[in-house]
């Protein structure tokens, strides 16, 4: 018995046990329960199989939600990745001491609790009191219905999400940049490589894994965002800014049809799973190549 306990694999398993219990009990079990819930009727008295899902797919509003979620997630992640990448390079070029100050300032959006900073943004966009509109009025431009017109509202939600998430990308990329050995850059310079060439042949390949992982993580988190949309537009105007999480809340809690709300949320799983498998496979392949080389 004692030998079994001191065996390496047993110790390892016991150390992993809290993690397994946590994931099994608080992620997998509730997810299965949610799947079962999604197959009940509105008053949760009958089992109806996939009828909730079929119903959703026939609704115009839901198809709009799918489109909007993808639009929001993809645009926001692309914007964040780009800005984070640029910022990481800019910061990397600055000497250490000063870099700390700039880094700190640029991290503020990530550090302020999202729900509260979104309230601040909302106040900046308010129809009657928008400080942005006040500035526009000073230069003679008519007030913009920031959250009242579909195009502007979508722009604002992407803007707020980018503002919030870019520091995270910046930090991850900065960390990755720091780990690229200087010699590679110097060697490339000696070979006469200019800025863009260095970027293409040294920086990007070295950082590809971290770029993939960060993009995937951000894609998942952005896709499932709830706070920003809920506070800024709550899906308006006319459901043109609803994404999965807010629509699920609206349909489930606000309208009292919890099984339908669960079905909406569950639609996210296949989409995200597909994206994850795709990206993680690329990462694993590169890891294998690097290990084999």
């Amino acid at each position: 018995m004692r030998r079994w306990l001191s065996r390496r694999s047993t110790v390892a398993f016991l150390m992993c046990l809290p993690l397994i219990v946590l994931i099994g009990g608080l992620v997998i079990y509730p997810a299965c329960y949610a799947i079962w819930l999604a197959m009940l009727n509105k008053h949760m008295t009958r089992f109806v199989g996939f009828s909730n899902f079929a119903f959703l797919l026939r609704r115009d509003t839901f198809r709009l939600v799918v489109f909007q979620s993808c639009l929001f997630a993809v645009s926001a992640v692309m914007a964040k990745a780009l800005i984070g990448f640029v910022l990481a390079h800019l910061l990397h070029a600055i000497p250490g001491g000063r870099q700390r100050v700039w880094r700190g300032l640029l991290l503020v959006p990530w550090v302020v609790p999202l729900a509260l900073s979104t309230l601040g943004w909302w106040w900046l966009f308010d129809p009657s009191y928008s400080a942005f509109n006040w500035l526009l009025a000073r230069v003679g431009i008519a007030p913009v219905p920031w959250l009242g017109a579909t195009g502007w509202a979508r722009f604002c939600m992407i803007l707020v999400n980018t503002w919030y998430g870019a520091p995270f990308f910046m930090i991850m990329y900065l960390a990755a940049l720091k780990s690229v050995p200087e010699q590679l850059f110097e060697a490339a310079s000696i070979d006469g490589a200019g800025f863009w060439a260095k970027l293409r042949f040294v920086t990007l390949p070295m950082m590809r894994n971290i770029i993939s992982i960060t993009v995937l993580f951000s894609l998942i988190v952005t896709f499932a965002d709830f706070t920003i949309i809920r506070i800024l537009t709550n899906g308006g105007p006319r459901d043109t800014t609803h994404i999965f999480a807010t629509y699920a809340f609206e349909v489930g809690i606000a309208s009292g049809d919890i099984p339908l709300g669960a079905s909406v949320s569950l639609f996210m799983l296949p989409i995200l799973a597909f994206a994850s498998i795709f990206i993680l496979r690329g990462v694993a392949r590169r890891d294998r190549d690097m290990a084999a080389a």
Partner: protein, 445 residues
């Protein structure tokens, strides 16, 4: 209370064991503990007074009552009853708002024995309350005055006076019906809207997806006789009345601010308080904050009923309820407490505490003095409750559709979305009607 109980006991004894539970008999179980979740009133004093009342009742009846005040901000209250109904544990009684009595009806204990005697005593109850909480002939929740509100017009006197329509004269702070009030129609409003916009005070009528927007459009539709779904459940969106109502809105919208489509429940408040709007449809919360933060505007406000249409004058009503869970451990005490809170004396005490914001569920109670006393300006909310001479009917968007369909119409903001599709997205009437039909068919599944 004791007198009525003994009369009830006599009645129950006389009726015999086979009688329906139309009367509440005080049992030994009315002692013990009770946990109630009230709505967190936006006027803090309201909560203080509620607690005092409940504590007084608790002391007299030797029941240990714990109170929580739960806000509707962020749908907190809705989350709470969703949670408690799933977990089948929590408070004995909770505040419910709007359609949620129906949504959770299967988990709520019937309260005919509390509501029927109250109706016998105080007369007609707000028809919207009956529509929302009387299901299959049984009452599923007790009507609450705390939080129940109307959303009549709240307007700037200075603008309206110089535009030739003086609300102080048309709806004076006196029990008088004026002939001018018959002239307060949607047509009149359409005449005044462009003048307001020119004066830089466009009407703050939202077309968003929250209750303020949906409610005023609902009252408008009803006054045109426009029903998206009729009482039998047939989809009647493709009708002349609906088209007339939408066409009216299409003519009104150009005179409204451009961002009404993003209005939430507080946007019209802010439009009024900032002095940028001449009229909104709202309970007196906007006026109260204006008095605090922007007194010149606040002292210039007057509340009066909505305009009338071809089929009558309808005022949006947003009721609150108290529901007792089927799994509650002390239903008897809950019924006692909540029934007692519905009595005129308690309703008036609570109403006075919140400066008249709460509307009593019983139409006979529309004569409290508080509404005549509140100022500035004196009489500003005199016409906030529906007075007998207003010829107004309380209404809710979606009425008279079967409530299972109406709740979705209300929450999914079908009415305002239809108008937005026409006026902002530029779709044709045919497209809008077709879209609405598709939505309503989905709601009827």
């Amino acid at each position: 209370m004791t007198m009525t109980v003994s009369r009830r006991q006599a009645l129950a004894a006389a009726a015999g064991a086979a009688a329906l539970p139309l009367v509440h008999i005080r049992t030994a179980g009315a002692a013990g503990k009770l946990a109630v979740g009230f709505w967190d009133h936006w006027v803090p004093v309201g909560n203080v007074v509620m607690k005092k009342l409940v504590d007084a009742w608790a002391a007299k009846n030797k029941v240990e009552v714990t109170i929580d005040f739960i806000t509707t901000v962020g749908n907190k209250l809705q989350l709470t009853y969703a949670a408690e109904s799933q977990a089948r544990t929590g408070h004995d009684a909770l505040a419910f708002v709007l359609w949620d009595v129906r949504n959770y009806q299967s988990s709520l204990a019937p309260v005919d024995d509390v509501v029927e005697p109250l109706i016998k005593q105080y007369g007609q109850i707000n028809p919207v309350i009956e529509y929302l909480s009387k299901i299959d002939g049984h009452w599923s929740a007790i009507p609450s005055s705390s939080g129940t509100q109307y959303k009549p017009a709240c307007a700037r006197l200075s603008f309206f006076k110089q535009a030739g329509f003086d609300p102080e004269v048309v709806y004076p702070a006196k029990p008088v019906h004026t002939t001018e009030s018959d002239g307060w129609t949607w047509q009149k409003m359409l005449e005044l809207a462009p003048k307001a916009k020119q004066a830089g005070l466009p009407f703050g009528l939202g077309l968003g997806q929250t209750t303020d927007s949906v409610d005023f459009v609902g009252a408008l539709f009803r006054s045109f006789g426009a029903e998206l779904v009729n009482a039998k459940g047939d989809i009647t969106v493709d009708s002349d009345e609906v088209k007339a109502a939408i066409e009216y809105m299409a003519r009104l919208v150009p005179h409204l601010p451009s961002d009404i489509y993003s209005y939430d429940d507080a946007s019209n408040n802010r439009a009024l308080i900032s002095g940028k709007s001449a009229l909104i449809f709202n309970p007196p919360s906007a006026w109260a904050v204006a008095v605090r933060d922007n007194r010149p505007v606040g002292a210039d406000c007057w509340t009066f009923p909505n305009p009338s249409g071809p089929k009558g004058r309808f005022v949006p009503s947003l009721p609150f309820f108290w529901g007792i869970w089927k799994f509650a451990k002390n239903q008897s005490a809950a019924k006692e407490l909540l029934g007692w809170l519905c009595e005129r004396e308690q309703v008036e005490t609570l109403c006075n505490a919140v400066s008249g914001y709460d509307i009593p569920p019983f139409l006979s109670m529309a004569d409290f003095e508080i509404w005549a006393k509140v100022e500035p300006p004196l009489g500003t909310v005199y016409n906030y409750p529906i007075r007998p001479w207003h010829n107004s009917v309380p209404s809710i968007a979606g009425y008279p559709a079967p409530p299972e369909i109406a709740v979705q119409m209300y929450n999914r903001a079908t009415l305002t979305t239809m108008i937005g599709k026409l006026t902002q997205a530029g779709q044709s009437m045919k497209q809008v009607i077709a879209w609405a039909k598709d939505e309503l068919e989905g709601f009827s599944r």
